[in-house]
Amino acid sequence: MTRVIDARGVAKDYPYGGEAVHALRGVDLGVDAGEWISIVGPSGCGKSSLLNLLAGIDAPSSGTVELLGRPLHALREAERSRLRLREVGFVFQRFHLLAVLTAQENVELPMSEAGIGRAERRGRARELLEFVGLGHRVKHRPPHLSGGEQQRVAIARALANRPRVLFADEPTGELDRRTGEEILALFQRVNAEGTTMVMVTHDPGVAARAERTVEMADGLVVRDSGAKGGS
């Protein structure tokens, strides 16, 4: 198995009013290619902080993260940015689509940034929107789509450049149970096609959909159902 994520001794302090908030206090985590893990735990235990570090959005206060074999701390911001664009996908709790672009254009955007030609990215954007079940809504702009539909567009956007890892922070947090289920079903298909998935949630029901659950409390990993990885 190829190691996709390798985090060792990761800590994160946030300066706050002269003191430091110890959000993460030494986390070791390994994720192999094709895995689907969910990170769970109570609010404030450091789930989002960890996800941001694993994805190269933020840098740890100490410890190291290797993503797809690349030591993130050794990369420059522009290199991390390129890695995120080409190898990584993101789905956020709030979907954060560009309001002025249509569903199709939102999906095309990361491909356009990656230098993919117009005809190719059009075709792929349509395919992806079909895949997430929005083939009939390609010309709609986000304000005219429901929350579940916007999240599907966001997933299509995250998949645009065929990422090897997909990160999702509370992807069903703003959706009702049924719509959430539909999103999770989509994730299952994405994972089945070989994409590694790292998902943060505080909902045990949602977490149960993943094959492996990492439980956190107070800045530490307290249980890991697939504890073959790690240190």
Binding site: S48, S49, N52, A55, I57, D58, E77, A78, S81, R82, L83, R84, L85, R86, V88, F90, F92, Q93, R94, H96, L98, A99, V100, L101, E105, E108, L109, P110, S112, E113, R157, A158, D169
Partner: protein
């Protein structure tokens, strides 16, 4: 795609963007007017000087044209020596004097009168009749109009007033030979032209001139001609149009300073407007921008989109401000030209394509810079933090 999305976002916020554009248009118009004003008077003065083909002026040593009552002595000899300088084609002599016009009830009106050489004169263009000969006088257009004078009519003039008695001396009737449009007259000015010899005789200054004008052959540079004349005829000061414009420029320093200050204010206002609008837009799209960064869009690409908003605002504002500025310049010019004592032909505003494009380019650049500041802030903020703030 990023730039297109940024611009679309800008124009989707229609009300706010239109208001900002109106503000930028007004300050661009002010900047344009100040740019045109800074050089306008001098440029227009230069045009007037050369308008009848005489590019040089010769005056009594060390004195600027009509700055004093001093005259050039032995004017005919000086004129002959000037005419002999290679490159000189014509020399025009002028002698200024004061005459009084007597009306039917015996009241006297003072009139500025120039004695001119009818074969070489640069002070008026004929609009009716002919140049004045012996016993004749040419009247300015406003005078002909208000007094109902026509070619062939007679006017009674006095060459002097007896101050103690309040009575005219040396009364004489002159025939109106023609009507002229005087280049340097102020709006509505009543004035006369007569034969040089006549004015000399009447004022008892047989061989003098207040001022001379020199025309050069085509292709001869004014400045070098002025130098050659100065060398050949050191008794007078000879100025090229350029030198006189420089002199005018010095005297108009006050005007240019005002134009510079108002123009700078316009630039600052534009910068504030653009950066306010872009800052608000960036604040509103903070989450979008953070997401784009998380997704891996390069910072400079996002920045380019934001800067494009600033440039678009500034250039569209400029495009709208241009016609507004030209219209305002026209109105202001009409007001300023009514200033007493200024030649009516003088214009305060001049269209100088180079300066105007420089000013408008400055505004576009200001727009780009004003977009840079909020844009830079948005793309430099710590990404993890930005995403978190947005989720709150």
């Amino acid at each position: 795609m990023i730039v297109g999305a940024s611009l679309r976002a800008l124009f989707r916020r229609r009300g706010r963007t239109s208001l900002a554009l109106a503000g930028i248009a007004v300050s661009a118009a002010l900047l344009l007017d100040m740019t045109m004003l800074a050089s306008g008077l001098t440029a227009s003065f230069g045009e007037l000087l050369g308008s009848r083909g005489y590019a040089l002026r010769a005056t009594p040593k060390g004195i600027l044209p009509f700055d004093s009552d001093a005259t050039i002595r032995d004017a005919d000899g000086v004129a002959a020596r000037m005419a002999a300088v290679p490159g000189v084609t014509r020399v025009a002599r002028v002698l200024g004097a004061q005459m009084w016009r007597m009306d039917a009830r015996g009241a006297a009106e003072p009139l500025f009168t120039v004695g001119i050489d009818r074969t070489a004169q640069f002070l008026y263009t004929l609009t009716a009749g002919a140049d004045p000969g012996a016993g004749e006088v040419l009247v300015s257009e406003p005078m002909a109009r208000t007094d109902g004078l026509r070619v062939g009519d007679r006017v009674r003039l006095a060459t002097g007033m007896d101050a103690s008695l309040g009575r005219a001396r040396d009364l004489r009737d002159y025939r109106v030979s023609g009507i002229g449009d005087f280049v340097y007259n102020y709006a509505g000015q009543r004035s006369l032209a007569m034969e040089l010899g006549e004015v000399r005789r009447l004022t008892g200054r047989p061989n003098e001139a207040s001022l001379m004008a020199v025309a050069g052959a085509p292709g001869v540079s004014d400045d070098s001609l002025a130098r050659r004349i100065t060398a050949a005829v050191p008794a007078v000061s000879t100025y090229s149009t350029r030198e006189l414009m420089g002199e005018m420029d010095k005297r108009l320093l006050y005007f240019r300073q005002m134009a510079t200050i108002l123009g700078s204010i316009a630039v600052v206002v534009t910068a504030l407007l653009v950066s306010t609008i872009v800052t608000i837009g960036v604040r509103e799209r903070f989450g979008e921008i953070a997401t784009l960064r998380a997704v891996g869009v390069a910072r400079r690409r996002i920045l380019a989109g934001i800067v494009a908003e600033g440039v678009a605002l500034a250039t569209i504002g400029c495009a709208l401000g241009l016609p507004l500025g030209l219209w305002m310049a026209g109105r202001l010019d009409t007001i300023l030209r009514a200033f007493p004592g200024l030649p009516a032909r003088l214009s305060f505003f001049a269209w100088d394509a180079g300066r105007v494009s420089l000013a408008m380019g400055t505004v576009a650049l200001i727009g780009a810079l004003a977009g840079c500041i909020p844009g830079w802030g948005a793309v430099r903020s710590p990404l993890g933090q930005a995403l978190r703030e947005e989720a709150e």
